[in-house]
């Protein structure tokens, strides 16, 4: 069964801390914004030039000049700031952004990530992903543990062109929460009803399992 996309986002939101500046990628990472704990002060960065991203606008508030990196219409919040694209990646490279959450096609057990290109099939470009993964202090990947054929996407070595090397810190997949350590993927939590054996079977990279592995809890 495993987690839904919303549940993956919900689990990632538990990694947020008060005062964090956070960049959320397109897809599941965007959903993390829906689970920021009440009362916690988290500022969302959109790399096309906004700090303090608010919710989607009401129909009569839509403004073509205010969009997020996924090109969706959005709103600002009290205290928001606009800036150009060079400054935007400046604050990313200089590690002012505390946490980056993004998707991945493959992650290797040394923290390498591939998420921008499938040779001969999909070449849309890396957008800001290479800048983000090269510099962020703390990178969490939201992903499905296996592909449509049931093959592991958590590998010994990425097969697709890399986006960045040795940069992923944590993975929240549909079946497990794992840290990337010098020994490989360290299993921290498992999705409700998913066994350690199943996670082992679906993880091609080195997997470290120590002691009892608790189920993921959302509260």
């Amino acid at each position: 069964m495993g987690l839904t996309k919303e549940q993956i986002a919900h689990r990632i939101a538990k990694e947020l801390k008060d005062g964090y500046y956070v960049n959320l990628g397109i897809g599941i990472p965007t959903l993390v914004a829906n689970y920021i704990p009440k009362g916690m002060n988290v500022v969302l960065q959109s790399e096309n030039g906004l700090l303090g991203m608010g919710p989607f606008p009401f129909d009569d508030e839509v403004d073509a000049d205010i969009i997020n990196a996924g090109k969706q219409t959005i709103t600002t919040l009290p205290g928001s700031a606009f800036f150009d694209s060079a400054m935007s990646f400046g604050m990313i490279r200089s590690q002012k952004i505390n946490l980056t959450v993004l998707g991945a096609m493959e992650v290797a057990d040394n923290g390498d990530i591939a998420n921008w290109k499938i040779p001969g099939k999909m070449v849309k470009g890396m957008g800001g992903a290479m800048d983000l993964v090269a510099a962020a202090k703390n990178i969490i990947v939201a992903m499905m543990h296996t592909n449509a054929k049931g093959e592991s996407k958590l590998l010994k070595k990425c097969t697709l062109p890399l986006t960045g090397i040795r940069c992923v810190r944590k993975i929240v997949s549909d079946i497990a929460v794992l840290d990337v350590t010098p020994q490989g993927f360290r299993l921290l939590e498992r999705a409700p009803g998913i066994t350690v054996e199943e996670i082992q079977a679906k993880t091609e990279g080195r997997l470290v399992v120590e002691g009892e592995i608790p189920e993921i809890r959302f509260n």
């Binding site: 959109s46 790399e47 096309n48 030039g49 906004l50 919710p55 989607f56 606008p57 009401f58 129909d59 839509v62 403004d63 073509a64 000049d65 205010i66 969009i67 997020n68 990196a69 996924g70 090109k71 969706q72 219409t73 959005i74 606009f82 800036f83 150009d84 694209s85 060079a86 935007s88 990646f89 400046g90 990313i92 490279r93 390498d112 070449v123 849309k124 470009g125 890396m126 957008g127 800001g128 992903a129 290479m130 800048d131 090269a134 510099a135 062109p161 890399l162 986006t163 960045g164 090397i165 040795r166």
Partner: protein
Amino acid sequence: MNKVVANADEAIKDIQDGMTLMLGGFGLSGIPENCIAALVRKGVKNLTCISNNAGVDDFGIGLMLQGRQVKKMISSYVGENAEFERQMLSGELEVDLIPQGTLATRCMMSGYGIPAFFTPAGVGTEIANGKEVRVFDGKEYLMEHAFESDFAIVKAWKGDHSGNLIYRGTSRNFNPLMAMAGKITIAEVEELVSVGELDPNQIHTPGVYVQRVFKGVNYEKRIEQRTVRKK
């Protein structure tokens, strides 16, 4: 100093086949709609276009792709455009994909007079091929060069007759960076005012970087992903 020209056609009249152009915007936000339409009318070909994205099939740079006016595209993300993909896969269109922050800084550095810089983006990936790698404080960085372009074409919210520019919201994006990087920079603005009407404290692009400015007309400001919440 008066840099005002009548319209987009006059602003781009000396853009020739084979030139390199920068075009501001992120997605369809903050793109120079009037100048793109004028470039389509003029029919210049074999252009190299530096722009974060390549528009959609029937808007933005997509219109120039339809007319096969672009020889090479330098961008960070080119999804959302079927004609682009077709031309790229068939080899008609040359494409250079580079990380978004690197693209932005390559434009900015041109306007800062700095020929090259070091960035961590892309270290260990295929885009590092052939690039100089230097180690600073134990970490690897790639050397990237500032961009040169014959024309930079940007869109601003407000501008004055001397080319001072103010942008609005996230339509700022690459516009002020590219404005600094053109041998000739053309700015199209929604509101064109006399010298002295803009507050000097609010200027994003000082007029020294801008050679031509005109008031754009009929802005469509198309939205790619209109996303709303319910009341």
